[in-house]
Symmetry: C2
Subunit: 317 residues, 2 copies
Amino acid sequence: MAKGQVIALSGGVGGAKLALGLSRLGLDDDLLIVTNVGDDFEHLGLNICPDLDSVIYALAGLNDQEKGWGRADEGWRFMEAIGELGAENWFNLGDRDLAMHVVRTQALARGESLTQVTAAITRQLGITANVVPMTDDPVRTMVQTTDGPLAFQHYFVRDQCAPVVTGFEFDGIRQAKPQADFMAALRNPDLRAVIITPSNPFVSVDPILHLLGVRDALEATTAPIIAVSPIVGGLAIKGPAAKMMTELGMPSTALTVAEHYEGLIDGFVLDESDAVLADDIGSLDMRALLAQTVMVSLEDRESLADYVIAAVDELAP
Amino acid sequence: MAKGQVIALSGGVGGAKLALGLSRLGLDDDLLIVTNVGDDFEHLGLNICPDLDSVIYALAGLNDQEKGWGRADEGWRFMEAIGELGAENWFNLGDRDLAMHVVRTQALARGESLTQVTAAITRQLGITANVVPMTDDPVRTMVQTTDGPLAFQHYFVRDQCAPVVTGFEFDGIRQAKPQADFMAALRNPDLRAVIITPSNPFVSVDPILHLLGVRDALEATTAPIIAVSPIVGGLAIKGPAAKMMTELGMPSTALTVAEHYEGLIDGFVLDESDAVLADDIGSLDMRALLAQTVMVSLEDRESLADYVIAAVDELAP
């Protein structure tokens, strides 16, 4: 079996599912999961990192599988009390989830980096994969809409993705230094693969790709780069990706996602149910790869991860 | 009925019981409850004000009557998660209670004073009495013990009052400015009364009395000052007051508390079960007043408050 580090670029829920699958293949600390921080925000004085937490909760087995976000056996007494006190309560913070935000906020306030506090938390929770934020610097995704610009969580949670999207900006992206382990792995000649998980290409993956130096390093690496489609049968498995595509004037299909990554990736995994798109995708500068990409069970996550790792090794030079 | 403001000096649980009784006598905003902040501390990055919160929860009807502290219908998922994350978990923060600390911490961080955030919270919770901290500046009670000095919550909660007490210090007391409404009321010639609630004299009331200018103003006012004993039958109703007295070489009786306040108060309310102490207390420079001081029911709180208000009006010049 091939050696070397595997980098997975991840947003929240969809990315976290594949990240969990990858974490169960015995890669141990050769697996580096790089999470988007463009969705991060400060709320009620707490530093909240939704994508990072989705990955951590998934890998630690603490996530709520039915709800699809947050922690299992969650309680809402805090939110009830927040409402009584008249404070902002449009963003749901579960009683258990809150511990993460409080511990992280305290660590950041005393000068630790997001990388450091994430390492401490993942170690404490027994996670063997390396989970790092894409940067320790603030990057904030702004969704441009016909109603004006909206901070991502205002668009996504408060306004429930209702405003019509016209584009995206990543505030702070030019000043943000890509996370050090991430860049070192990208530049390592022994890098085994880069996997773009099935997360939203515009708001989950693009912030990572737009960090200064990341795209250059991806173009320079000889390691295979594979993306997994978050769109199946014209619908996003989760979240607003398909709605965004339509509003931006693009067909909401896996082909659009493949085109979005053209020039960057070597292979594109689309769902078997979208086999009709395989020829068009194969005519782009990438291999079209058909797999069962909808991850319902733990076995689905492991199978897709297995498939993707086999595919990258086959694509290796 | 007499007019003018009534000031109640309060610590946590015992003080909050009488404060609730007083708040139900129709004094409305003529009642000014001044709470100790010497027990306040920062924990997990949150600003925690235990005495202030005990008073607020009692007056809002949100307190846990059985447990005697914290909020009713409280949950502990946050604490479980804090434990999983390996963070400090010796101080119990309930899921509902947490909302108060988060909202307050955020308000203080954006530059509001403790007085301002307390006013906003009490208004939001429908409390008509004025509740103010003794000062907006940091004062921290240090308990001197044979094991060395301990921050109050470390002594009280973490070490469960086990260390032997030798004295007290109130860090920051000389720099702390007494809260403005408190001082204005104390100096108002129309002040109706000052009531020292049945809180711990050493760590709940003394920090208030030690603020620069407070003792002078208390000695200057013509309004009656009455204290209610927190010690009944040689035992503290709640907390370590009796244990502290014994360790400091004082008999743990209501007489000791009366002596502690001698020169300051005009009347001392002791429990009917301690009637045997009335002559000794009456021979101090104060009136000994017998009442039913153990507050179990809401009616007990109202009766004692009624009794105390009648007593101050009788003592009025």
